[in-house]
Amino acid sequence: MYQYNEQDQNLVNQRVEQYRDQTRRFLAGEIPDDEFRGLRLMNGLYIQRFAPMLRVAVPYGLMNSVQVRKLAHIARTYDKNYAHFTTRTNLQFNWPKLEEVPDILAELAEVQMHAIQTSGNCLRNTTTDHFAGILKDEVEDSRPWCEIIRQWTTLHPEFAYLPRKFKIAVTGSSEDRAASQVHDIGLHLVKNDAGEVGFEVLVGGGLGRTPMIGKVIHKFLPKHDLLTYLEAILRVYNLNGRRDNKYKARIKILVDALGIDKFRELVDAEWAEIRGGEMHLTDSEIERIKGFFAPHPYSTDAVNGVAALESKLAEDADFAAWYERNTREHKVDGYRAVIVSLKPYLKAPGDITDVQLDVVADLADKYNFGEIRSTHDQNLVLAHVQAGDLFALWQVMAEHNLARPNIGTLTDMIVCPGFDFCSLANAHTLNVADQINQKFDDLDYLHDIGDIKLNMSGCINACAHHHVAHIGILGVDRKGEDFYQITLGGSSREDASLGKVIGKAVPQADVADTIEKVLQVYVEQREEEERFIDTVRRIGLTPFKERVYAPVN
């Protein structure tokens, strides 16, 4: 992974001191509240329902064991022994003290981490596919490109006060695990007919109040032009994005209002001014960054572990169930990618304790070249585990409640913290997640239902991506009571689509029962091996509506 050089380290150190000084001046009354708000947000600090919340950047979801141990230490020392992974692959601490945040940042800086631009109306952390670099079908590893973008975005002087937050996602294979089509900019590494690698560029996707799928602005952007083109898009947005209404300030609204062709014209005009300029990427820089993401020293003996693995799989049904759901193919024979489930029974999805963080760090050192990834669906990945190590790894993870075999199933939900932590929430989410867990605890049933994506947000901001879930749940407030609107048919993948509301919101007590009815219709109607989403697309919403809202007699 990328290693800071002296300059990178200086930057985060100086940023810590700068923020320390900003905090000091704020506490001394020298910075007004609303202005400090802007400054602290650019440093990932929200003021929430009970306490501040600090969002730590995990650039493109990649961490090493030293960093993860530091996160454990911070959870233990400054927080209540746990932290929370988000859809943006970042990590949130829910209970830090405002005065202690500079110290936390100083500790993070020791391990090449920070909270720069994890919130606020600026360029945010770039996200990517959590299987980047290990896939057979990949055009190119997306992570070097994410790092190039990370450097360009970090403390960008011109784009620190954008109309609204700005998110970029990059993917390198034909499968999309980064929800790239619902980002402000989605970048897809593609090959043209001449065999050159470049980017298909999408712009104007996003969720929240007005969900939209991104539109193609460039079919094939040569890779050396990446930064100049991004800069052109951002400049057009900075100058023309709406600033009168924060709900209409995202780039998706601008692109939609102008139309993609007009928007492209503006970007092209701006790009023509800067395209060949200093920000044009050089081969040596691209190679330098790629050098940090060279393949790990994989063992050629790894395939020898396969026999042992197979006998364990035959002996132990629990292990086999976990292997089936929670591991994935790796391009190197004898290796598998392991997904660490942060969706245990009756615990907040995405939460992780200090002890678990330490366990994951130890396992990564022992079996995974010290590498850990966070995923946009709030799990972790150990991407390169030898077949022969899987059983031992599984045993330790199972002992620490990290091996629930539910990846990709109904209980692998993305859930925002909702009313329990978030001051913007309209409804609770965590207790509804519990309700769903209780109702659908039967493993055979879950595995029979198969791949399904259920996401739940506590308000219209859509932090949990409910619009692009096969089953989306949105908490709404009806005269002080929690109700939940259900959408079906969304997808955040390469076949991205927005879910449609099936009817009036249901009361809290009925959420799991409603989902059960939806699943009954699926089970009755599905054709051989058909995924839930495909059934919904084939038969439409009506059969689901009819079942859910059938009069009770």
Binding site: Q7, L11, Q14, Q22, Q151, A160, Y161, R243, E278
Partner: protein
């Protein structure tokens, strides 16, 4: 109101702010003309000889300013709110067009934005009394590492 030019406090401002009514009263003075007045009186102002400056904000027609840069020795960019980032791009574009005069920030301008503004091409800042302190000038150099190219140095870190 303290005025910083090239990171130093300047005792007096040689520029006089005028509006539609006072414009004619100072036929020789170096004046900062609000954008609306500039747009309305373009011909006379451009034909004159005296030092001329325009004050503009993000809602106004920046192209009109860009079209008349040879006649301007100062462009004042107004920040109606500290969240309004359009002025950052204005300054950047001015420098790109080769404007070598002064670019001055006014309005909601304070300590924590000065360094970014400098990088975008501003070299002068009007700061309200309540937001100015002895520490304000120490902001320059808080962050010395710059990844991206900007108006202060167009070269990104990998070209330096």
């Amino acid at each position: 109101m303290p005025l910083l030019i090239n990171q130093n406090v300047v005792a007096d401002d040689k520029w006089l702010r005028v509006d539609a009514d006072t414009l004619a009263q100072h036929p020789e003075a170096a004046v900062i003309v609000p954008f609306d007045v500039f747009a309305a009186e373009q011909e006379t102002l451009l034909a004159g000889e005296r030092p001329l400056a325009v004050q503009i904000n993000g809602d106004q027609d920046f192209d009109l300013v860009l079209a008349n840069l040879e006649r301007l020795s100062l462009v004042v960019i107004e920040f109606p709110a500290f969240t309004d980032g359009r002025g950052f791009s204005f300054a950047r574009i001015l420098r790109r067009k080769g404007f070598t005069g002064e670019i001055r920030a006014t309005g909601d301008v304070s300590h924590d934005r000065l360094e970014y503004m400098t990088r975008c091409g501003f070299d002068a800042f009007e700061i309200s009394d309540e937001r100015f302190s002895d520490e304000t000038c120490s902001v320059f150099g808080e962050i010395t590492v710059h990844y991206q190219g900007s108006a202060d140095d167009e070269r990104p870190i990998f070209r330096r």
